[in-house]
Assembly symmetry: C2
Homo-oligomer: 332 residues x 2
């Protein structure tokens, strides 16, 4: 079917070895210019395309990188979308193709990819052993510098959000954590950041947890509704993500209150959803696009240097202030 180097070799009366050398621009081989041009011309004319599968078999490099997330919904959701948008062109510019999967095993198995970007960690206990010997990079919201991990500090991100609200004069600030399972001594960075910021300011700790549910908007709506029914002097909400925040805004409006005049709402991740809500949602910006770009870059160098471990990077979060936050106004 396809044209092979043997076809070219035959047509120019040379061996496949020489054709390969020319087409791979091997500088160590001594190929006279005339020969070089003959081969290149023949290849062009015959429409030669190297069979990448065959090449991968000999070189051991597929030039595929895998991107993994626990669920495809997560991967294509607005948060990770911002990253994929950047990752694929970046990978492409380095000569790699991108394989997406929510099944780690199929990604790892069979030397199909040279390296993997992990966006979330599966609960599968074989997780660690499946990754043994693979080149990978994590993109996570880890707290500190960690090998092979491009991260940002969610403790700090949450603190920025709360700090901003405190600065506006808010006292009763609720942490809307939605579907996180409550634990007394959680390691969850956003929760830690929230608690630290509130406690340092000496304010009352108001947290809102929920059960896991598929519809996060609904989740945010219900939690906020219950909250407004119970306590009625809340002036600000910081949500774990933009979905919850937007659900909360809906509940606040349904309760006859105004955002941001009565209650300020801050989201998290600064996804495209912030542009749709009314009012436009203030949100903590996480540098996931930059993280993705760096991840591809680091992964590519790790692959080509045969390195398995490399230094991590911690990026900065920032607060994107829009219209859903304002100084508190006494409602009573």
């Amino acid at each position: 079917m396809g044209v092979t180097i043997y076809d070219i070799a035959k047509s120019v009366n040379l061996s496949a070895a020489t054709v390969s050398r020319v087409l791979n621009k091997r500088t160590d081989a001594r190929i006279p210019e005339v020969t070089r041009l003959r081969v290149i011309e023949a290849a062009r004319e015959m429409g030669y395309r190297p069979n990448l599968v065959a090449r991968a078999l000999t070189t051991g490099r597929t030039f595929n990188i895998g991107v993994f997330a626990c669920s495809m919904q997560e991967m294509t959701g607005p948060h990770f979308a911002r990253m994929l948008e950047v990752v694929e062109p970046k990978a492409h510019s380095l000569g790699y193709r991108v394989v997406v999967s929510s099944e780690l095993e199929s990604l790892v198995e069979g030397r199909q990819v040279d390296g993997i970007i992990l966006l979330s960690a599966p609960s599968d206990p074989r997780f660690g052993s499946m990754l043994r010997g693979k080149t990978c990079v994590f993109v996570r919201n880890l707290i500190r510098d960690f090998p092979n991990c491009i991260s940002w500090n969610d403790i700090e991100g949450m603190q920025k959000a709360v700090g901003y609200l405190l600065g506006l004069g808010h006292k009763k600030i609720v942490g809307l954590f939605g579907d996180i399972v409550p634990e007394p001594h959680t390691q969850y960075p956003k929760v830690i950041g929230f608690r630290q910021a509130i406690e340092e300011a000496g304010e009352e700790l108001l947290e809102c947890w929920g059960t896991r549910s598929p519809d996060q908007f609904e989740n945010g709506y219900r939690l906020m509704k219950d909250l407004l029914d119970g306590t009625d002097d809340i002036t600000a909400v910081v949500a774990r993500n933009d979905y919850l925040a937007i659900g909360a805004i809906r509940a606040i409006r349904d309760a006859g209150l105004s955002v941001p005049d009565d209650v300020s709402v801050i989201g998290y991740n600064d996804t495209i959803l912030t542009q749709c809500s009314y009012p436009l949602l203030t949100s903590v910006h996480t540098p996931i696009a930059e993280a993705g770009e760096i991840a591809v870059d680091r992964l590519a160098t790790a692959i080509s240097h045969g390195v398995e471990e490399f230094a991590g990077v911690v990026l900065q979060t920032s607060l994107t202030i829009r219209d859903s936050s304002a100084p508190p106004r006494k409602r009573f």
Copy 2:
């Protein structure tokens, strides 16, 4: 590094051929049960994983399918996201991995994928020739049945939206087409559908075109703003997509008018954005998830049967009515 069939063969004192036969469950080979079990046990014990690259080289099948869209932004945007979410698990269930790319050439080249799902057509003139001999399936908003194409009818979708508004009693309905380049006799289905529906009802044809801009929200906002400045008795807007619709809602609100009391707004594609807007956006639902699932299915059978052309499918659109549409109210 990895365990090969030769390693297994050596350990059980058989040839690699026999090992291959056992592991591929070849029914035409006559392998006694004892031998079979010996091989399987050895493979398990040694942690054997077939090298898929090598397998692909001999069989000519990579079990990769490519998904192409013109830009990665398009691919990860909320519309196609709904599809990818379904496509990857479906592909995986049929034994395929998914390679995403916004570079058709890198997807097509080098026998890296067995088939391709095309979500949009690039302007590259080599488009047609690049696809020659490849197994592919298009997921498009084509009007009619078309080979290798899973589609839905946007003419009809637009007619449903306009018909619904007419039914509510609207007269002055604007088609907000945003960045589509205006042509006198356009083939663009949404425009055709809009015109047909309006003209059949004998109403005035009001269309709104714009120039291509990266920020579609802004696009919708500006177009709607200009529209409200010019004519002031518009009671309904049907947008080309949800972005434009949400931008338009913003402009309507900024003009001191209410959605849907003063102006009804209908979006298109029924993306997740409809859940964020206020009021919740009525939108034409396009069956892109179903289309994706069918596309994978058809592609897989086309691949395994070596067929290049197969019958297309046309799916139904529907209107998802939410809170941004209502009967018109006289404003003057």
